[in-house]
Amino acid sequence: MLRGTILTNNPLVVEKLGPDAPVVYLQCSYQALLEAARDRIHQGARLLTHPLSGSVKPGETPYKSIILTNGKGDVDRQSLQLIENAIQACAKFQQRCDRYRPAVDLDCRLIDWTLLEGALASANQ
């Protein structure tokens, strides 16, 4: 069982993992999700997955799922640097996923889910 929290803005993650999973669903943008993760890191949570998972760049997908520990306390420097760099990277890419057709949107959800799925497999070992 996962000891941690999955922060996501991807409805498919909620759907796949069901109501009992430690999922925090936020209806927000890709960057806002990274910022929500950053706020938790500031409180002492550690990243368990890379915030720029996937080669689909920020701006090309609206969805992002990140696993963090529930830890409180000292700030983890590595997590902090990863999340800061990820937030900075958002600015480098053009926004265009808001113009996707519905079918493409579903593809984006699926890809984000499969990236998370791989990480969950590692986390649950």
Binding site: H42, Q81, E84, Q88
Partner: protein, 350 residues
Amino acid sequence: MAKLRVVHYINQFFAQIGGEEKADYPAELRVGEVVGPGMALMQKFGDEAEIVATVVCGDSYFNENLDKATADILEMVKSQKPDVFVAGPAFNAGRYGVACGTIAAAVQEQLGIPSVTGMYVENPGADMFKTKVYIVSTRNSAAGMRDAVAKLAPLALKLGKGEPIGASVEEGYIPNGVRVNFFEKERGSARAVKMLIKKLAGKPFETEFPMPVFDRVAPNPAVKDMAHAKIALVTSGGIVPKGNPDHIESSSASHYGEYDIAGVMDLTAETYETAHGGYDPVYANADADRVLPVDVLRDMEKEGKIGELHHLYYATVGNGTAVASAKKFAAEFAQKLKADGVDAVILTST
């Protein structure tokens, strides 16, 4: 096509007026004259461009009368309506390099005329201006004139014609932080193997992507008499008066805030807040003393633990990891702090 019009800037030495003893030579416009290194430039320009005027100015004069000299020279350049402005090359001459960088940047920014200069990479002017104007990388003495002009002239022509400028290694300018693509002669793997062989042999090699560098500054002496010291507060946590009167942006701020806290004993939710977008603002908004400890320092001021809390504080929104932009601001307000007789600084970051 008509020849491109070029204005050339040189110092008293290259104008053969004299050395250090003539460095106070004021700025002078010589219309229709090609002086010193201008000859070599003209040769390289061929039919494509000509130097229509030369500005001569002493290095001491320029640096000691920075504002006036800059303004005067801008007028001179403007009057000649050039297509491109060339300064130097300055090689390793420090004040000449700073003058070339200053005036080339000013011509480009204020007159909108493309500008280029040249100097040795360790010339202080290089670091100061490499992100503002193209600076051709030269050798450290005038013995490298031929080589310098060979790079300077073609780059000036391209700039004058408005042609796209290639990567630094192609054009010969000092890297300016803007990454530009180009095709190498060998593929990447072959370059990597060569680089590794050099690195293994302890020979010099050149990385294609330098990592951000961090320099160090030696610590200043400790404060001897805290009870009479003037302490200033600086924060990168974005604490601003409520309503953010200066409109400090939440990230990548283009300016910093200077705020008067004379008579302010405590920062409250009603009076101060954070403009920083890099952390959860709830706690700082509720009580900004959590980032900028004004309340405690006022107590200590009263108790005589410190001499005085400086009446101005400075605020930026620099994240811990993004330091580059804040550097310029800090250099600026540090001078103000010094001028105001501050003895020591407490800098708080989130």
